[in-house]
């Protein structure tokens, strides 16, 4: 579904990604973790071409991002993305947030889009808030709407960029619950997150990044199972976040 092939990226002289390669198969859930500044968010943003890269290629559902002829907006419409800061559109109601791209990008009719949006809103448990504006919802509720908004486009894969890092602790679980449910339904997912509980529960593979490189890329059982087989850097990282 996603094939990342020897991707390099620089900001000027500074190298953010260095020779990153990995695959995400259909139905697979891959968690990307690593210290801040390790390039994990940049990597996931490269997957739907929100960030350009200079070398290598990423192929999503058979479409090459490095190919200059690729219609990037069209590709992005099939790749769902959830952001750290939700990024709901504050000037639009929740219903409009859920329907605007369906109508303007996919060309769906207003009624069809609204029906689809409301069904997804119900699924994330927020149907009663359809008429409200994003500013009237809590962080956790906004993030659930953001997930519903991405799902409304019928994506072939979902990308999550630290979806719970900006949330109050008590709201983390309501968002993770939605993500777990999605994973169990067979959605292909690539998640940048530090929620190791989530990784243990639903991830098929865990990728560990440091200084722009993919240091570890292995099955969940191996990643959490045998620490001695992990790299020094991954062990230090895990020790820090798993201690408490």
């Amino acid at each position: 579904m996603i094939s990342i092939q020897n991707v390099y990226k620089w900001y000027g002289d500074f190298q953010v990604l260095s020779n990153c390669s990995t695959e995400v198969s259909k139905g697979e859930v891959v968690v990307v973790c690593g210290p801040s500044g390790s390039g994990k968010s940049t990597l996931i943003k490269c997957v739907n071409a929100l960030e350009p890269f200079q070398r290598g290629d990423i192929v999503v559902d058979g479409i090459s991002l490095a190919d200059p002829k690729t219609n990037l907006p069209k590709l992005r419409s099939r790749v769902g993305m959830v952001f750290q800061h939700f990024e709901l559109f504050p000037h639009l109601s929740i219903t409009e947030n859920l329907t605007i791209a369906q109508i303007k990008v996919l060309g769906r009719g207003k009624d069809e889009a609204t029906e689809k949006g409301l069904a997804l809103l119900e699924r994330v448990g927020l149907k009663a808030h359809a008429h409200k504006y994003p500013g009237q919802l809590s962080g956790g509720q906004q993030q659930r709407v953001a997930i519903a908004r991405a799902l409304a486009m019928d994506p072939v894969v979902m990308l999550f960029d630290e979806p719970t890092s900006a949330l109050d602790p008590e709201m983390v679980n309501e968002v993770l619950d939605v993500m777990v449910q999605l994973a169990q339904e067979g959605m292909t997912m690539m998640c940048v997150t530090h929620e190791m509980g989530f990784a243990r529960k639903v991830a098929d593979r865990v990728i560990f990044m440091d200084q722009g490189q993919i240091v570890e890329d292995c099955a969940k059982e191996a990643f959490f199972g045998d620490l001695s087989a992990r790299s020094e850097r991954a062990r230090q990282f895990l020790a820090k976040i798993l201690q408490h």
């Binding site: 907006p73 992005r76 952001f83 559109f89 000037h91 303007k104 953001a146």
Partner: protein
């Protein structure tokens, strides 16, 4: 001082005020449209477009409005003749509208640009991630938010334009000030009419400013 001559002159003054308001309204509408286009150009990644817009803005912000008005009075008929090949009579009103909207566009451009830049970058990313083209992102997501934020500034600039329309006396257009002045001259009471004109300008502009301030408070919440 004898203000009694003003009352019978009011219908004529009102006509002048209508011209003033029309000039302002068309100048603001055209200026905001052109200014928005310039702002989007200035922020585009295309160097040529960005530089073109920057040159335009810097040029018009560096020359006096009075010059632009007189210049367009002569230039617009000339340009039209060059384009259409025949004499096209253009009144002072039309040439003044063109002058105002082109001049104000430079100022509106900077207001709109600041408005666009005040919207968090993530909004653009989220819109793009949903598959919107750059044009859709701007039209549906960024500009509606930006305009809401900059409404007070746009209105403030419009109030300035309301006062600046009086410069059309240079090409003989009968706006409010010119109407008041000429009537005062004919009757032989120029001072009374100018004082009255001043009062009207002050009342309209100041009341509008107060309204903008109230609006600003409401939008800030």
């Amino acid at each position: 001082m004898d203000f009694s001559a003003i009352l019978p002159a009011l219908p004529g003054l009102w006509e002048g005020m209508l011209t003033t308001l029309q000039l302002m309204l068309l100048g603001v509408l055209g200026g905001v449209l052109l200014g928005t286009l310039l702002a989007v150009m200035r922020l585009s990644h295309n160097r040529l477009l960005a530089n073109l817009a920057a040159t335009y803005v810097n040029y018009f912000r560096s020359i006096p409005l009075l010059l632009v008005i007189t210049w367009f009075y002569f230039a617009v008929p000339f340009l039209l003749r060059a384009i259409t090949g025949e004499d096209t009579p253009v009144g002072a009103f039309t040439s003044c509208v063109v002058a105002f909207l082109m001049f104000e566009a430079a100022y509106f451009c900077e207001i709109v640009r600041a408005g666009i830049q005040s919207i968090p970058k993530g909004q653009m990313g989220a819109a793009q991630a949903l598959g919107m083209t750059h044009g859709q992102c701007m039209r549906l997501i960024i500009l509606p938010q930006a305009f809401r934020k900059m409404t007070p500034l746009l209105l403030q600039q419009s109030i300035i334009l309301f006062q600046d329309t009086s410069l059309v006396y240079a090409v003989g257009l009968m706006d409010f000030l010119n109407a008041a002045r000429s009537r005062g001259d004919i009757i032989g009471q120029p001072h009374e009419f100018l004082i009255f004109a001043g009062l009207v300008y002050f009342t309209v502009s100041f009341a509008a400013s107060l309204l903008v301030k109230r609006l600003q408070k409401r939008l800030a919440v």
